[in-house]
C-alpha cells in the first residue's frame, strides 16, 4: 500500500466523484485509467499549491559521503570514442548511478586518461566526459574510479525522491556544527576558503546533478553525521483503495476539479472549471496564511484547466 497524506480520500473515491459530477458512465475505459488519471491530477495540483503545503512533504534522511573507490580486478574492457562509453565487465563492484560525477582514470595502450562519469548506462558501462579522452576505440586495461571529486566530498542523492516543485529547497544539517550547512553554487564551493575567518567553522555544500558536493572549514574536524531535509515527491497510487497524497481540505476540491478537467477532455466535453479552481486555489493558500496575487492565481488556474 502506498498510502499518502489524506486520511479520507482514496484514489478511486475521488475519481468516482469527478466522473459523477460530469456524467457517470458505467462502461468506459476511464475506469481502467482511473489510477493514472488520479496520479497525474494529484501531481499537477501539488505543483501549483506546493508553496502552501510543502511542510507536509518534508522528509529527513541521513546521507553519507561517498567512500571507497572502485577499480577493475581482471581482464580488459573497451573504449568507444564516438559514444564515449567505457565498458568493463570485471569491476570490483558494478557501476551504479552513485558513480555519476566521480573521476575515472583508465589505461589504454595509447596512454592514461582522466574523465568524469557522466551517466551510468549499466553495471558494466558508463558514459565519460572530459577534454582529453582517447580519440580512437581501443582496449582498456585498468580502470580506477576515484571516490570523491577534486577538493570536495560527494554525497550521492540519486536515490532520494527529492521534489523540484516551485518553492522546494534542501536543508543540510551536520552533527559537527551548530548551524545548518550553508548552500552555495558550485563555483562558490570551489572557491571556498577553508581557513577564512568567516568560513573555517562552516560546512558548505552545492548541488551538482544528483550529488551534493561538500567542503568544511579548517576548524571543523569532520563532516559529522549529515542529515538532509528535503521535500519529497508525491507518492503515486497503485491501487484504488490507497489514500491519495494530498492534504484533506481545500486541496481535495482541487484534486476533484483537476480530475474533472482531465475526464472532460477525454470525453470531449467542455466544462468551465476556471472560477471553481480559482476559488479552491485561494482557499489552499489562505489556509496556509498566504496570499496569491491575481496574476499568480490566473497562471495556476490555466495550468489546472
Amino acid at each position: 500500500m502506498a498510502n499518502g497524506i489524506s486520511k479520507k480520500w482514496t484514489s478511486y473515491a475521488l475519481f468516482r466523484e469527478a466522473l459523477s459530477d460530469i456524467q457517470w458512465i458505467e462502461n468506459t475505459e476511464l475506469h481502467i485509467q482511473s489510477i493514472a488519471i488520479g496520479n497525474r491530477a494529484d501531481e499537477e495540483v501539488l505543483a501549483q499549491i506546493f508553496p502552501a503545503v510543502f511542510p507536509l512533504y518534508l522528509k529527513s534522511e541521513v546521507v553519507v559521503p561517498a567512500s571507497g573507490g572502485n577499480h577493475s580486478v581482471s581482464g580488459t574492457g573497451t573504449w568507444a570514442a564516438a559514444t564515449k562509453r567505457l565498458v568493463f565487465g570485471a569491476m570490483q563492484s558494478g557501476f551504479t548511478d552513485g558513480d555519476v560525477g566521480k573521476l575515472v582514470t583508465f589505461v589504454m595502450s595509447s596512454g592514461c586518461y582522466v574523465g568524469v562519469i557522466a551517466s551510468c548506462v549499466s553495471d558494466t558501462t558508463v558514459a565519460v566526459e572530459g577534454s582529453f579522452l582517447p580519440a580512437a576505440d581501443g582496449t582498456v586495461y585498468v580502470v580506477v574510479v576515484v571516490p570523491t571529486a577534486i577538493g570536495s566530498e560527494r554525497v550521492d542523492i540519486s536515490n532520494l525522491p527529492i521534489s523540484n516543485f516551485e518553492g522546494a529547497r534542501l536543508v543540510l544539517e551536520s552533527s559537527a556544527i551548530n548551524q545548518p550547512c550553508e548552500p552555495l553554487s558550485v563555483d562558490d564551493l570551489r572557491n571556498f576558503r577553508t581557513s577564512g575567518l568567516n568560513s573555517r567553522g562552516k560546512i558548505v555544500y552545492a548541488r551538482e546533478g544528483n550529488s551534493l558536493l561538500l567542503r568544511k572549514g579548517d576548524e571543523v574536524s569532520s563532516l559529522g553525521t549529515l542529515t538532509l531535509h528535503y521535500p519529497r515527491l508525491i507518492i503515486a497510487q497503485e491501487a484504488d483503495n490507497e489514500y491519495i497524497d494530498l492534504p484533506d481540505g481545500a486541496a481535495i476540491r482541487l484534486a476533484i476539479l483537476r480530475r474533472k478537467a482531465i475526464i472532460a477532455e477525454r470525453l470531449n466535453r467542455e466544462l468551465n472549471l476556471g472560477p471553481e479552481i480559482s476559488d479552491a486555489l485561494k482557499s489552499v493558500f489562505e489556509s496556509a496564511r498566504m496570499t496569491l496575487s491575481e496574476e499568480e492565481n490566473k497562471r495556476k488556474v490555466e495550468a489546472l484547466t
Binding site: N27, E29, H31, I32, Q33, I35, A239
Partner: protein, 221 residues
C-alpha cells in the same frame, strides 16, 4: 403499461394495410393469421422487426447512454451465465450493445473497441480488466490471466430479438421497448414500409429524442 406484440402489429396493419383481400379488417383477433392486401403477415412482421432494430441502432447513435439506459430499460437484458473460456465469450443472440459486464462478484470489466487498446492495455490488472468487442465475441487479450474461465459472468446489454409470427398470434408476448417508443416504432415501420433509409430513421429518432430531452430537462446531459 406494456403492450402486447399482437396489439402493436394490429395497430401497424391499421396504418399501412388495414384490410385483407376479402376486405376483412385486420385486428388483434386475426393479426398474424391473415395477410393484408399489400403485406403478407410475415412481411409485415419483418418490417416491424426491422423497425425495432433500426430504432435500437439509432438510439445507440444519437442519444447519451444515461438516456437509453433509462428509457430503453425494457430492452435491457441481464445475462448471468456468460461463459469465458480462454478469454473468449460469445455474445448473446439479439445483442445490440453492452451497458455493463462484471464477474460474479460484481467487479467491473470494461468492454471496449479494438481502436482503444492503446488507452487501456498498459493499465490492465486484476482489478482493471477489459475485453474487446470483436464480431460475435468478447475477447480478453490476456486470455484467462485476468478473466478466468467461468460461466457466471454477468452481462447487462441491450438486446432486441426478432418476434415470430407465433408471438403475434398467441397474444402472450409483450413488446420490450418502453412505452414512449411504441408510437415511434410504428412510425419507423411506416417509413420502412415506404422504403425509407436509415438516415431518415435516425433523423426521426433524433428529433424525437430532442423533444423528449427538452421535456425531461437537460440536467443529465
Amino acid at each position: 403499461m406494456a403492450i402486447k406484440v399482437q396489439e402493436q402489429m394490429a395497430r401497424f396493419f391499421r396504418r399501412v394495410d388495414p384490410l385483407t383481400d376479402d376486405n376483412v379488417v385486420i385486428t388483434a383477433a386475426n393479426v398474424g393469421t391473415v395477410d393484408g392486401q399489400s403485406f403478407p403477415a410475415q412481411r409485415a412482421l419483418d418490417v416491424y422487426n426491422a423497425a425495432r432494430k433500426s430504432l435500437a441502432a439509432s438510439l445507440r447513435l444519437v442519444v447519451p447512454t444515461w438516456f437509453s439506459t433509462r428509457e430503453m430499460s425494457g430492452c435491457l437484458v441481464r445475462k448471468t451465465d456468460l461463459a469465458f473460456t480462454s478469454g473468449v465469450a460469445a455474445k448473446p443472440a439479439g445483442y445490440i450493445y453492452a451497458d455493463r459486464l462484471t464477474d460474479v462478484n460484481g467487479n467491473r470489466i470494461i468492454i471496449t473497441g479494438l481502436d482503444r487498446v492503446g488507452a487501456v492495455k498498459d493499465f490492465e490488472s486484476a482489478s482493471k480488466r477489459y475485453v474487446l468487442d470483436v464480431g460475435d465475441e468478447f475477447i480478453a487479450e490476456s486470455g484467462s490471466t485476468y478473466i478466468p474461465n467461468a460461466n457466471n459472468y454477468v452481462l447487462w446489454y441491450f438486446g432486441v430479438l426478432d418476434w415470430l409470427l407465433a408471438d403475434v398470434t398467441e397474444g402472450t408476448a409483450y413488446e420490450t421497448f418502453n412505452e414512449i417508443w411504441l408510437e415511434i416504432l410504428l412510425e419507423i415501420s411506416n417509413l420502412i414500409a415506404n422504403e425509407a433509409g436509415q438516415a431518415e430513421i435516425s433523423a426521426l429518432t433524433n428529433k424525437f429524442f430532442l423533444t423528449l430531452r427538452s421535456q425531461l430537462g437537460a440536467a443529465n446531459g
